[in-house]
Symmetry: C2
Subunit: 284 residues, 2 copies
């Protein structure tokens, strides 16, 4: 049985999803919309998309599953725009990096009987756009889904099945837990990268930057990520992100004070547990 997935937004994530579904030939017909219609046409020519939709609504209407693959605030906007076109039995999901505000919007906007399952495939890179899409983007990566107590089991299974079909491992989290965890493990590192790269840029020459080892390069890699996407993440996960920034600044402040006082013992007390903590997180 072939089912239809309507993908709204063919950037890196939406485009990769289309590519992965088509290259898997696993029973999904892909109908896609993107603001850049030429991009969708190109995706169709590559065999990633079966049908080009000229509006978001056309992508969503009648689809068994609608995937909103836009930056976070674009997803909220789409929920409002598409709601009148959706009918009971359809399932809607998204790929946003924050979840609580999107779930609240879905609850408010969508008609009775249309199920929403929040999703977050943890698989983007610092690149963006269809040109950076790949059918293997999701292979071996996590996809976090954030069902609520009243989410129909069938809808959850449909969305989980989609992500498993493209090679991801599905993990379930409560929306608020998701947002707090990702504030620390993703949004904070991005905020630091954005801030650090500019501090360095204003302080030293590019030639001098290149004298450094890998630490700065690694720290700032994600600073080339889409600023629109990260503006949205900052705004949508505001509370949790502010908490994480304050936490980091507080710890940097403690190190700063210890260095300023030349307090050797306190500096050690602050540095030594970090290596141990890092080793519990990942093997090197």
């Amino acid at each position: 049985m072939t089912r239809t997935v309507g993908i709204v937004g063919l950037g890196q994530v939406g485009g990769s999803l289309a590519a992965a579904l088509r290259s898997g030939r696993d029973g999904w017909t892909v109908r896609a919309f993107d603001r850049r219609l030429s991009g969708v046409a190109a995706a169709r020519d590559r065999g990633w998309v079966d049908a080009v939709a000229e509006t978001p609504r056309e992508a969503a209407e009648g689809a068994d599953l609608v995937v909103l693959a836009a930056p976070v605030r674009g997803i909220r906007q789409l929920l409002r725009t598409l709601a009148p076109a959706l009918v009971p039995g359809q399932v809607v999901t998204d790929v946003g990096s924050t979840k609580a505000t999107i779930l609240a919007e879905a609850r408010k906007a969508l008609p009775e009987g249309v199920a929403f399952v929040g999703g977050h495939p943890v698989a983007g890179t610092e690149r963006s756009g269809l040109d950076s899409a790949s059918p293997r983007l999701f292979e071996g990566r996590y996809c976090v889904l954030t069902p609520e107590p009243d989410t129909p089991a069938g809808a959850l299974e449909t969305v989980a099945g989609l992500w498993r079909a493209v090679g991801s491992e599905v993990v379930l989290l409560e929306p608020e837990v998701h947002d707090r965890v990702f504030a620390y493990v993703s949004h904070l590192p991005h905020a630091v990268a954005f801030a650090a790269v500019q501090a360095v840029h204003d302080a030293v020459t590019p030639r001098q930057v290149n004298l450094g080892g890998g630490s700065l390069r690694d720290l700032t890699r994600v600073a080339t990520s889409s600023p629109e996407l990260w503006r949205d993440v900052c705004l949508e996960n505001r509370t949790a992100l502010l908490e994480a920034i304050d936490d980091l600044v507080d710890r940097l402040g403690r190190l700063r004070e210890a260095v300023d006082r030349a307090d050797e013992r306190e500096i050690e007390r602050l540095l030594v547990p970090a290596g141990r903590a890092r080793r519990t997180m990942w093997t090197p």
Copy 2:
């Protein structure tokens, strides 16, 4: 003509230097000391070291070139300890990540006629100790030297020749410029990694950490670096490091304020130039 290099400290950097010189067979006889005598013996058995010295002084005495390969404050201590054993014509260099305080110590401690050339091979990894040493550690990497106006040209050439012999590109910087540049391109990223890893460790579980993408992993990679080494760097490059930390915290604070006010325009103003700046520093 064979010359003798006395290496004091056979950790990752000292051990790699011994290994590289021996594997290059390029006219240096290596005499080495380390607090862990068994390590030096093992290095001799591997053919990295010609002679085992039982004290730092024994490694330095009569050597054409003395390389101090310890953490930064250890280097300063060694300059004081070894000074009485050194005679005019000998050249001393070091591998410390900070330069101004070491140069001041050398100027104060060393006898007339013993030349000191500050050195910083930019080639360590987050690992440490002889087991992480490699004869190829310096290949294709920069080595910064920080000669002063009165540094004898011959001494500078001896030290530069050593680093070129092991595959490094030698770059000259003034000591204060070196310290300011490395505060930004290396010491700050390490301070951030140490602080961030602990913030994350206390806020989320290891399993949740693994849900994140590469941004946190990259940001925190260097948090497993030697805490003793980095305690010393913090203390020895205090002024420049504090300035860099304050700069970063200030920029994070501006982003924090903009997010708190939900000031979309200001967030964009802060994020957009970062990608451009990063691209001027390295190609992706």
